[in-house]
Symmetry: D2
Subunit: 342 residues, 4 copies
């Protein structure tokens, strides 16, 4: 069997989680997220982000988190703004539009939105009431291109949004990876201060399922549970989510796992750079997009699974490699070995 | 801590499931339900229901299953018909309406729909195009009142639906309990023959999460995966659902667990009947609704958790007791002991 | 050709409206409701209801008004409450549900909602967040059964709604008829004080098309134009609506037309009562529901069109007769003549 | 008062329409589009397009037509494709998304879609089921830029759509102008053959309100009336729409009015070309976008109303001029006079 660099959800979950599930399995707990694990996990997250007034809800996956958050915030005539590479625009089968809302797309170089990008959307939507009203800025960190926001960038975006009555929502499916990137100076605490809503992704960072939606803006906290239930996202056995986040948050396991994934990717990146490879985007997280000769790609394909992402020219293509919380040294070393020898 | 008869999702999952999760945990698998466990589980379910042409999809919970199935079938102007006690009408925060569809309510005595109930709805909706078009019949088995359909009843309903161009959809959140009720002559095979769509509920029968949606009508199979993704119900680690259903289906564990729950409820029912208690509905599954004197309810409340369901008169109320796949003999015996002594 | 008592929209419009259209036809006006006629008509309505802070919008028809108002007010998890006879429940092809909202139905005797009816709905929806949250009370005046609210009833309902954080919305498709019923002590001014939103129906009272939505609650006024545009209800030539309401409001033509319709119906009602007929509901507006012998119904059918509304027994049925702003004395007299002679 | 070239819906309607309204005003007619005028108008349209098997429905406006047609055709996971200039993308407040569907945007030079544009969208949406499925091609003729499709172009597009299982829908808000453009060889008959659905716009071509939706593909005809009713677009007095289209279709008035509008625009275009002006797009219909010196724009603004469409550089801007079925020679001549003298 080939080793896979296709994504960061190929394996099950961190062993601590399974142990915790085993230990508590036959205890009777309250349903729908009222269990003691959910309560403890929420408490722990609040402590780590140093924000007691936030509200936290657990759901199963990223598309679910995105559609519930966005549809809970926007009025029928309001729209979200996203970089054209945004997950909500391309990879969620129109989940946001299915709740009635347009997502306005902005071309960017690196998958990151800046105030200047948003100004351009706002200026294009002044013909009241004949156009949707842009009201929410959707960003992801790390982005779909593997890039990250630093503190200054997020502060600028946050200030701009406040000045323009826009809500700022961070898709954190890979938030761990974003915050533990070696070039990142952003912290969980800062994210909690600067966004209206964000989520901590579990699925792509060592959980079986689970994203922790954190609502910082009190205006957006009201009645949020109704949205979760209505969209079919409220698990009867909410304990499954609580137990996982409790384990991930203990001793900063969540960040350790993400850092591990990033480091494994950086080893490969360094090896490729030494061989002179260029990249589609300059990333420091667990996604890298090296441009390789097609012959090399073929050789690598014999032992590894990954996506050929984009044809560059007749002789070369960009591939996407994703490492995970569980990517072993051996897989990385074997991959690097082939690179060095070809 | 009090023992809880509040519901059938208070505990974790059957130990076999946790073992299977442990064994396969670090294997790399394809995402989004393309893993080998999902494939095997689907195969096994098809064999057990002796219907190879059905398609099977796994989702996390019942509300999710209901909203995806119903919204995938109905055109914008079409409506579902449900008994007034139906879960989709009362307990899902308008999840069906949120997808754009009306659910037409019919009063019934026992939570079960019969052709005569549906005729009355059809006749009330002849004013084309000023009214919604009833197009789907939603039933649950066992019902929200704990009652069950027998083969003859389901055959009649199925024939009626076919003659009237209506789709028949069975909510099987407690299908195991329905099929293993001592008075039931209905089989999984029959359900697969007589319905257009149904699901096998895992959450309330020993899984952590999971419902297996079975689409028997080929017309309704087309492109179903899109709906699951769009509604945020497609798990990246679909293996979590596949592993669970594989374990539940092996050696008929699914039915054994449901039968156990039913039997524990029947023990209590019998003890109550011996003491002369009456019941809100005559049930043979894991939900019972005895009418008890308020003093007795208070005594029971000291040691047990359960819902007081409905005030009957100044002196008595109906309570709801639900047993589960994991309800131990001790809990049942302690409960019966109190009844006998009061 | 038979004379029709089927409805109040069989004829075109009051001649004053056509004259006003002719006179202004080739003037260039601003589009989308910014024309001088819309502005004048709004001004005139505000004066007549003595409420300057209300906002007024014109749309084409009643279903459109209902779906725009209700969907603009409710959050995704909130529901409307309606009498089971409500137009939004039975005669609008699920238009409200198509915008994502459930309409909760309450059985009433006369098509009118009272606080006691609503209390019962509120008490049945306490299982947060597993049920929709009732948030808007939908009433119609005159109702679908031809009955009317008096001032005391509307005051009680309005107070109750305020105390319970519910919005009160009056469907006024036949508001003229409701306010000019001989037994009505309610005024337009009172309606504007006691409701959050209501509309003045034009279509059923002498206009070609048009309903004037009046938003009294400032919270609900924000951005309302976006909803109208998004639902496809904003006419490029908004003047068509403005001109009509301007003519209808001048010299109280609107109320004169409705009173005429009511009076014609009352003549028939009186004639029937003299012959000893009974009625499905005791109405004083332009809809009456007499119960007649089938032989008489047949005789009447030879010269008149009307709906046979409900079978009463083998020998008799209730019919529905609707008179309009334009029902001539001759039609009424011919109808009465047959009654007297049979 | 300044003469307005802002749009083609500044005036009322063609006098024939008002005469017809006057003549029939007090006749009693069936409601909801079952009146004799609607039936006659539909018959006449079918004859003119030589297609008896099409079905025709009248609605009030373009946004309404677009949202009803598109939402009636697409399943929840399917999307429309539009040129980035498409009315549905920019000028309808997210009306399509509000019905749950994404509109995929393609950049074009002239507002027209070609097979090559669509191929690119299809190829970008192969990741089943993680992306929406493109299923409907939305085009407008004349386009929002004033350009037109010729027969060859529409044939190519139609063939491509058939081969790729895509529906082809033509927004004909300005269909009259498109078909009577001097460079157009396209006919109504051809449009009816080559599209699945299209509409004949009345609002922008001499009617008070009204668009005639023509459904050529029998698969899309089923139950269409339900959609119209559900979206609040079914007028009780449908006669208002029938009478207008009957008058417009008689003696080809519809095409004469559009040709007049085109010709008035071409006079201005020619005068501008003689003065050496350039244009944003090369149009032959009633919309022109000349690029003028800001000084000249200011002079023109003293006597005329029009939109300044786009800043070109510090000294010049493009303006948009729209002529209508009723634009008099005097207005055109006055405008040209200023051009000649400046």
């Amino acid at each position: 069997m080939k080793f896979s660099f296709k994504n960061d959800y190929s394996e099950g979950c961190h062993p601590n989680i399974l142990q915790a599930l085993l230990q508590s399995n036959l205890d009777q707990e309250a349903g729908y997220g009222e269990d003691r694990f959910c309560l403890q996990a929420k408490q722990l997250i609040k402590e780590k982000m140093n924000r007691k007034d936030s509200e936290i809800y657990f759901v199963s996956g990223g598309t679910q988190a995105n559609l519930i958050v966005i549809s809970s915030i926007l009025k029928p005539y309001q729209a979200a703004i996203s970089a054209s590479t945004g997950h909500v625009l391309n990879n969620e089968t129109g989940a946001i539009e299915a709740t009635g809302h347009k997502v306005l797309s902005v071309e960017t170089e690196d998958g990151k939105l800046r105030p200047s990008d948003i100004i351009q959307v706002l200026e294009g939507h002044r013909n009241v009431p004949h156009q949707v009203m842009p009201k929410l800025v959707y960003i992801s960190n790390s982005t779909e291109l593997g890039t990250v926001y630093n503190t200054k960038e997020l502060e600028d975006l946050s200030s701009f949004c406040k000045e323009n009555n826009l809500y700022l929502f961070m898709d954190g499916a890979r938030l761990g990876h974003g915050l533990t990137a070696e070039i990142s100076d952003l912290t969980l605490e800062k994210v909690a201060q600067l966004t209206d809503v964000f989520y901590l992704g579990g699925t792509k960072n060592g959980a079986l399922i689970g994203e922790a939606i954190v609502i910082n803006n009190p205006v957006l906290q009201e009645d949020f549970g109704f949205h979760i239930k209505q969209k079919g996202a409220m698990l009867a056995k909410g304990r499954l989510l609580g137990i996982q986040f409790l384990e991930l948050m203990k001793n900063n396991l969540y960040f350790d796992l993400a850092r591990h994934a990033n480091q494994q990717a950086m080893k490969i990146k360094n090896a490729l750079q030494e061989k002179g490879a260029s990249f589609l985007s300059d990333t420091y997280t667990n996604q890298i997009f090296p441009i390789l000769n097609n012959d090399l790609i073929e050789v690598l394909s014999e032992k590894f699974e990954f996506y050929v992402w984009k044809k560059i020219d007749e002789e070369s293509s960009a591939i996407r490699l994703i490492t995970s919380w569980n990517t072993p040294d051996q897989g990385v070393e074997d991959f690097i070995e082939i690179i060095k020898n070809n």
